[in-house]
């Protein structure tokens, strides 16, 4: 096997890893990206490549929770991502250089790798007042985004800010915060969440690098791989929902038994994300497991989807067979309507039972107005 200088394989050799260990690493990386064992050969090939793929990470209207999440990655760990998997040429959060020296990093990459670099964007772009609400190096966020996106091989929108506008786009959206997909004339991979799960972020990038193409996306530009299932349908508390056993108040007896949080406002039924499967912080937990309902932080406009502790409009149960596109399209019309439309595809067998249980629980609920 020829060894390309600067490749991951070469780097691993230098670190004392055997070929066998390298292949194991490739299998793990492949598994992290959710690919079959047959496809591992492609992973091996990608990691033997000479140059690490150049990546630039722009920061606009954001809180840096996406960057913080990214460094929580456990497979691969972030040091391996930064040193071996890619070349993160610009990121205001971690890069050594500042000011002009930092800007030079960005310009060098754009110039040297046209059509080859991956653009990661954290934050929305304020379009109000000709861009004065977010300037970097004296230039508006919009100008920087357009310049950088023009020759990018792929564009990934990190988090709810870049994907959908997030909290600053909540009503009345004082600065005109805008998702990046509305500002550049090319496809964007939306990886929503506030923030997205660390290992999902790494997996989306890995997917691009290893397979040389974007993961399959749904109608909202989200990878189906991680946003194809509702939290509700993958939640370990789902059996309590089906059985009509609900938490009625925080830290009540039902909360201490881990019953369903639907009546506490849980947005799991309308939220497409991998939380209940992939979980957070190296599979440690996810919001529902800790006792709080899902806020729906990966959904478009979740901040304006009613008070968090008010449960969703009554609905006669959800079937696990529905897809993100179905409910996503319906949700665009409005949550209540979305749920009604969605109910058509529900699991008929369970419907009556669930309906009765929910009805009964909702009537009993003391804290709802």
């Amino acid at each position: 096997m020829p060894t390309q200088p600067g490749s991951i394989w070469k780097t691993m050799q230098e670190k004392g890893y055997s070929r066998r260990e390298f292949l194991q690493f490739c299998s793990l990386a492949a598994a992290a990206a959710g690919v079959s064992t047959e496809a591992t050969a492609q992973v091996v090939k990608a990691f033997e490549r000479k140059e690490r793929p150049p990546v630039v990470w722009l920061h606009f209207q954001e809180c840096t929770c996406c960057s913080e999440s990214f460094i929580r990655g456990s497979h691969p760990i972030v040091a391996d991502v930064l040193l071996d998997a890619l070349s993160l040429d610009y990121t205001e959060t971690l890069q050594a250089a500042a000011g002009e020296a930092a800007e030079k990093c960005l310009h060098d990459t754009i110039k040297k790798y046209p059509g080859k670099y991956i653009l990661l964007v954290e934050g929305s772009v304020p379009t109000g007042a000709d861009g004065v609400y977010c300037c970097i190096g004296g230039r508006s966020a919009l100008e920087i985004l357009k310049e950088t996106a023009r020759d990018a091989a792929a564009v990934i929108a990190w988090g709810n800010c870049a994907s959908f506008g997030c909290v600053q786009a909540a009503k009345p959206n004082p600065t005109g915060a805008t998702p990046i997909s509305k500002l550049i004339g090319k496809p964007v991979i939306n990886v929503p969440g506030c923030p997205p799960i660390a290992d999902v972020m790494a997996a989306v990038v890995t997917h691009l690098l290893v397979f040389g193409r974007a993961p399959e996306l749904d109608a909202q530009g989200r990878p189906r791989e991680f946003y194809g299932r509702r939290v509700h349908d993958t939640c370990y508390r789902r059996p309590y929902y089906d059985a009509g056993l609900f938490v009625e108040a925080f830290d009540d007896d039902h909360a201490r038994k881990g019953y369903c949080l639907y009546k506490m406002g849980c947005r799991g039924p309308v939220t497409f994300n991998a939380c209940a499967v992939t979980k957070w912080n190296e599979h440690t937990s996810y919001p529902i497991q800790s006792g709080h309902g899902c806020l729906g932080c990966s959904e478009n406009a979740f901040w304006d989807n009613g008070p968090f502790y008010q449960h969703l409009p009554k609905f006669p149960g959800f079937g696990i067979e529905s897809t993100a596109d179905t409910i996503g399209a319906a949700l665009a019309v409005g949550v209540g309507v979305g749920i009604a439309a969605h109910a058509v595809s529900t699991n008929i067998r369970k419907r009556k039972l669930i309906h009765e249980n929910v009805e009964e629980s909702v009537t009993e609920s003391p804290e709802q107005q």
Binding site: E14, C65, L94, A98, A101, A129, A198, F250, N281, L295
Partner: protein, 572 residues
């Protein structure tokens, strides 16, 4: 103005910060600090359910995640007279401590270290000598010659690839870097270790709050429940995991972070005389042991220091009308009463008033308004907030743990206590605080276990959860300490909804423009006198600015208590 250099973006921080510094004869003689991004969270909060505010405000910052959620819950609880159960206080304290330890370690290695550590120089290090040095500093396991040789070889391959990634265009070889190659190798090795370790400590947030960043909080307590007979709640397995994480955190701080800090500081003692800036310090304090309403019980005490006089600690009151006020003389806002007045957050008003240059621009008009940050003052004084302020207040108030460790650090570096009033002192104070807090975290855990042993499991009070029970109007203040300094939220509730919500955050105190009287805030004051050998490579400016741990997303906001039209933008 030709000698006024611009650093924008200031990197290795949170948010968008711009520094313009006047340099004469190799030294900063004047400086201007500008926040260049605004979102408008406070306007967005108006009319919403106060119980939801923690989630909105938590998104003010993902680096100091949790602290805004805590301040928000407390502001609502203060307004409604809610007292959280003891276990909720303990869980909040545990999450607070975990946040501090993670944030301070990440700040030291990943945001600050590259100002002191020359990554390229480590390639010349002798791994055997590095190993000897490491073993003389601490019993940390990853200290063998083979380990350092492997790290060096890995970085060598990285550098030789020609793709320097996050290290590209660094100021490597600058004469301000003073560490021997072996110390550089040690530090870079621990940079990588810390990057891997930091993802462990935040699992405490995931256990109690479901995820990190941005774990869940709850007005009236915490959302998790304890049940030692149930797999679906916080049980003995989950508690064991918390205990293990705390143990590892204490080890990492004591065996890696603090020894590295002291070893590196030893080569930069001249920085104990640079970057002092203001001589007033403010801390709201936190880590209550008998409830939020009893500040005397806080492990991190509350108080203000004026003129570096550690013999007198002034009381601080977040509700007193003339104590905390915000000015906008140099901020892109306007007040009804004119630009010269200061307003208490409860009486504040804000209207966007952008008068800066249109992008793209080269320099800001620093004679006029030049930042999206307002300028807070305490009784008219410019105050520094952050770990140094907290440690000084704790020291002056006689905290045994803090006094002891500060003494050890000063002795080890062989510097007087006045050395703390500096760039180096700020960085050292953060290390002292981390070690003290890591041990306190263990104490809170032990107390929690004792409560559970005594069948005290409550984590939430239902008192005033239901808005139907609320008074027609109420107002409250939630004070806390973000890792970067004093943080408070002010809320006014009317007819079950948020009528007014305001935040005054640490980087607003430190990074703000000057006030109506021309007084500089902490960054601008601290930069004066900072040497700059080469204006094209302003690593010295970064040292002082990074010593504050800037967090700009927090610092910029707007509020609008009178419901004025605030979208209006006026261009000069």
């Amino acid at each position: 103005m030709s000698n006024r250099i611009v650093i924008d973006p200031v990197t290795r921080i949170e948010g968008h910060l711009r520094i313009e510094a006047v340099i004469e004869n190799g030294m900063v003689t004047d400086a201007y600090s500008a926040g260049t991004m605004v979102r408008g969270i406070e306007k967005i909060l108006k009319g919403r359910d106060p119980r939801d505010a923690w989630a909105f405000t938590e998104r003010v910052c993902g680096v100091c995640t949790t602290v805004h959620a805590l301040a928000s819950c407390r502001s609502v609880e203060d307004a409604l007279g809610i007292t959280v159960p003891k276990n909720a206080e303990l869980v909040r304290n545990l999450m607070f401590c975990a946040q501090y330890v993670q944030d301070h370690v990440v700040h030291f290695y990943h945001l600050h270290a590259l100002d002191w550590v020359d990554v390229v120089s480590m390639l010349k290090a002798d791994p055997v000598a590095t190993s000897r040095l490491a073993q003389s500093l601490s019993p940390y396991a990853k200290s063998s010659p083979g380990h350092f040789a492997a790290v060096q070889s890995r970085l060598k391959g990285f550098v030789e690839s020609g793709q320097l990634g996050i290290f590209a265009n660094g100021y490597w070889g600058h004469k301000a870097y003073k560490l021997p190659p072996e110390v550089n190798l040690l530090a870079v090795s621990h940079y990588l270790d810390a990057l891997e370790w930091q993802k462990e400590i935040v699992k405490i947030h995931a256990i109690f709050g479901g995820k990190n960043p941005h774990p869940n909080y709850l007005v009236g307590g915490v959302p998790c429940s304890f049940n030692l007979e149930e797999v679906n709640a916080i049980n003995s397995e989950r508690l064991n995991q918390v205990a293990s994480i705390i143990k590892e955190a204490i080890e990492f701080v004591e065996q890696v972070y603090v020894p590295d800090l002291l070893a590196i500081a030893g080569f930069y003692k001249d920085w104990a005389g640079i970057g002092g800036g203001l001589d007033n310090y403010l801390a709201y304090g936190d880590l209550p042991t008998r409830g939020y309403n009893d500040p005397a019980s806080f492990l991190l005490p509350r108080g203000a220091i004026l003129g570096r006089n550690l013999n007198e600690i002034h009381e601080v009151n977040g509700k007193a009308e003339k104590e905390i006020e915000e000015y906008i003389a140099h901020s892109w806002y306007k007040y009804g009463g004119g630009d010269g007045v200061g307003l208490h957050p409860f009486a504040g008003e804000t209207e966007f008033n952008y008068t800066g240059p249109m992008p793209p621009y080269q320099q800001l008009n620093v004679e006029g308004k030049y930042s999206w940050l307002k300028t807070p003052r305490w009784k008219g004084h410019a105050m520094e907030v952050g770990p140094l302020a907290r440690m000084l207040v704790a020291y002056a108030k006689g905290s045994t743990d803090v006094k002891e460790l500060v003494g050890v650090v000063l002795k080890k570096l062989d510097v007087p206590i006045t050395a703390l009033f500096s760039t180096l002192g700020r960085t050292a104070a953060r290390g002292v605080e981390t070690q003290v807090v890591a041990h306190w975290m263990k104490g809170f855990y032990d107390e929690l276990v004792t409560n559970l042993k005594n069948n005290e499991t409550r984590t939430h009070t239902r008192f005033h959860w239901d808005p139907e029970t609320w008074p027609a109007t109420a107002e409250g203040v939630g004070m806390t300490e973000a890792p970067r300094g004093a943080l408070a939220h002010w809320i006014r509730i009317k007819d079950k909804a948020i009528d007014n919500y305001q935040l005054v955050v640490p980087s607003t105190w430190n990074a703000s423009p000057r006030d109506a009287q021309g007084q500089r805030s902490a960054y601008e004051a601290a930069l004066i006198g900072t040497p700059v050998a080469n204006p094209a490579q302003p690593v010295e400016i970064l040292r002082t600015i990074h010593s504050f741990d800037p967090c700009l997303a927090c610092a910029v906001h707007l509020h609008d208590p009178q419901g004025r039209h605030i979208h209006q933008v006026t261009f000069s």
